[in-house]
C-alpha cells in the first residue's frame, strides 16, 4: 500500500496518575477498509489504548508517542479540532450498551445529537438521516421514538452502532461490542459490523478477549499483554498457529467443537495478569509462561519477525 494509512500509532505509552503503566510502546497501523482485532485479558491495556485514540483518558494520565489519524497527530491536536475528530473522524462503540444510552431520552434524539453538535447535517435533514441510519443497522425507522428500555440488548447494541456511524467517521473502535450478548445476537451484530465496514470503507478496530470472535471478523490481529503487543499478524495465522505462548493460550481457551483434544479438557492459563503498576522484570509474561527459560526472567523481548507477522518471545 502506497497511500498513508488511516491510523498510525507510533510508540504509544500511557501511564495513569497512580503509576500504572497501562500501555507501553505500542505501534499499530490500520488502512481504510481494514479490520484490526486487539485481543487480551482485562487489564492488558486494550481499553486504555482505545480511549487514548480519542484522548478520552482521565486527567492525570500521561501519554507519549504519536497517534496519527489521517496524518494528523491526535495527541498534539487543539481542543476544537479534537472535538471535531471525535465522532466525525473516529467514534467508539463502548461495551455495555445498557449503560451508554441515556435512559430518559428517545433513541432518535440520541443518534441525532452528534450530528447537531458537529453540524454534519442540517437540522431539517437530521430526522431523515436518523431513519436511514436505523435502517442501516437493521432497525425499523419507527424505533427512533422508543426509549432504551423498550429495546432488547441486541437492539441497543445496534443503536450504539448507529450512533457511531452518525457522523460518517473514517474509523470505528468497537470495545467488546458483543460481550454479554447471546451467540445468535452476537452473530447478527458481527455480520452487521462486517457489512458496514465493507460498504463504507471505514477502518475498524475491534477489541475483545475472545480470540475466536476476532479471528472470524478481522483481517489482522494484535494480541496484547501487560500493555504491549506481544504478537501480531494475519488473523487466521495468529488464531490457528500462534507463536507467542500467551496468544496460544488465548486461542486454546475457546474450544473448537468437534475437536477431540479439547473434549473434557478445558485449557486456560494459570495465574493472574500482572499489576500494571508493579510489572515483573524481564519478559512480563514469564511468571505464567509454560515454556519460560531462565533468561526470560531478566531479558525483555521485543517484537520480531517479518513485517506482517511478528511476536515478542524468546522462542521466535
Amino acid at each position: 500500500m502506497t497511500t498513508a494509512p488511516l491510523l498510525d500509532i507510533k510508540d504509544l505509552n500511557v501511564t495513569y496518575g497512580t503509576g500504572a503503566a497501562a500501555v507501553r510502546g505500542v505501534d499499530l497501523t490500520l488502512a481504510a477498509g481494514q479490520k484490526l482485532g486487539i485481543a487480551g485479558e482485562s487489564g492488558c491495556g486494550k481499553s486504555t489504548l482505545a480511549l487514548a485514540l480519542l484522548r478520552l483518558l482521565p486527567a492525570g494520565a500521561k501519554l507519549s508517542g504519536e497517534i496519527l489519524l489521517d496524518g494528523e497527530d491526535v495527541l498534539t491536536m487543539k481542543w476544537g479540532r479534537l472535538r471535531a475528530v471525535r465522532w466525525a473522524g473516529a467514534s467508539i462503540v463502548f461495551q455495555g450498551a445498557m449503560h451508554s444510552l441515556n435512559a430518559v431520552r428517545r433513541i432518535g434524539d440520541q443518534i441525532a445529537e452528534p450530528m447537531l453538535i458537529h453540524r454534519t447535517a442540517p437540522p431539517s435533514g437530521v430526522r431523515k438521516k436518523v431513519a436511514v441510519l436505523l435502517e442501516h443497522v437493521g432497525l425499523p425507522a419507527s424505533r427512533a421514538d422508543s426509549y432504551p428500555h423498550e429495546l432488547s440488548g441486541g437492539q441497543r447494541q445496534r443503536v450504539m452502532i448507529a450512533m457511531a456511524l452518525a457522523c460518517d467517521p473514517k474509523l470505528i473502535v468497537a470495545d467488546e461490542p458483543t460481550t454479554a450478548l447471546d451467540v445468535m445476537i452476537q452473530a447478527q451484530i458481527l455480520r452487521l459490523i462486517e457489512q458496514l465496514v465493507a460498504e463504507q470503507n471505514v477502518g475498524l478496530i475491534m477489541i475483545s478477549h475472545d480470540l475466536a470472535v476476532l479471528a472470524d471478523t478481522c483481517d489482522r490481529l494484535a494480541v496484547m499483554y501487560a500493555g504491549r503487543v506481544v504478537e501480531q499478524g494475519p488473523a487466521a495465522q495468529v488464531y490457528e498457529s500462534a507463536l507467542h505462548p500467551y496468544a496460544k493460550a488465548l486461542s486454546a481457551a475457546f474450544p473448537r467443537i468437534g475437536d477431540p483434544a479439547s473434549r473434557h479438557a478445558p485449557r486456560g492459563l494459570a495465574g493472574d495478569p500482572p499489576d500494571p503498576s508493579d510489572l515483573p522484570p524481564g519478559c512480563t509474561f514469564h511468571p505464567r509462561c509454560p515454556v519460560a527459560l531462565d533468561r526470560c526472567a531478566v531479558e525483555d523481548q521485543a517484537l520480531r519477525g517479518e513485517e506482517e507477522r511478528r511476536a515478542a518471545c524468546v522462542h521466535v
Partner: protein, 329 residues
Amino acid sequence: MTESPLLHAADLHVTFSGRRGSGSARAVDGVNLTLGKGEIVALVGESGCGKTTLARALLGLEKPTAGHVTFDGAPLTYDTRSLKTYRNRVQLVLQDPRGSLNPRHTVYEAVAEGLRVHRYAGDERAKVAEALSRAGLRPPERFFQRYPHELSGGQRQRVVIAGALVLDPELIVADEPVASLDASVRGEILALLLSLRRDLGLSALVVTHDLGLAWNIADRVAVMYLGRVVETGTVEEVLTHPRHPYTQALLSVLPEASGEPVVLTGEPPDPTRIPGGCRFHARCQVLASGAAERAGVAGSCRTEDLPVLSAERTTQAACHWARAATTAP
C-alpha cells in the same frame, strides 16, 4: 450410571403471572430432565429461553406451578425445614462472581456463611481452609481476610465455588459460571469443575449459552428453546450431529464453525406469547427453506405441538422434520 438418578425433574412447569395488561409467562413449559451421580449436564439456550428459571426451580428457589423435582429418590417439598436440608446437598454458583459476594464480607466470612447457616458443629476454620484449597486458593490462610474487591475475577469465582464446596454438596448448579471471566481464566475454572467431579464425585448442572463450554466439560447437553428442551443427548452426538434446526443454527454461528452460518433473524420470542404448532417454526430455517415442505411435515410444523421430550438418556429432538428424517428409510 444405571442406578436411580440423583436429580430428576418430571414435567416441570413454571409460570409467572403477568403484570396488568400482559399475559402470564410460561418460562418453563414442560421439562423432563435427569442427572446421574457424578454426571455433568449442560443446559444450553439463549437468554430468555427459561434455562435460569429451570435451574432456580431445580434448586427450590422457584416453586414449580406443575410437575415435581425428585432428589436422591425423594420428591422435593417446599416447607422451610426440608428446603434447608436440601440446600445442604445442592449448591448454587452464579454468573457474576463480583455480584455474588457481599462486598462487606471477607473471603472467610463468605465461605463460612454456609456452615453458619447450617450450624456446623466441627472446626469451622479447618473446613473453610479445606474448601478454599480445594477451589485452588492456596495457601488458604492468605485469603481469609481479603475482601472481594481485592481479588481478581478468577479468584472471586473460586471463592464462590469454595463457598459452595464447604457444605460437601452432592450437586452444584452453576449458572453461566465463566461468562463474565477472561478467556485465560475460563479454562482454569472449568478444569476446576472437572477435577471436583473426579476427586469428589460431584455432579453438576451447568447453565450456559456457550456451546464450547458444554464441549469442554459436559457429558450430556439439553438445548432449551422457549421453555422446552428441544434437543437432548450426549455432547458428542448433539454437538457434532445436531438434528434440531435450532441446535444446528446455534452451532453454525460459532466463529470457528465451518460452512455457511445460519443467522436466525429477530430476537428470541416472548414466553408470554408462545406460538402454536412447533414453538420454533416462525424462525426455523428448515421450514423457511422449504425442506420441511419436501419432507411433508410443513403442515404439522405450523399447527401441531410436539410432545415433551422424555428424561431418558437417549438422544432426542423435538422436531417434526428430524422425526420424519429418522423414520424414513
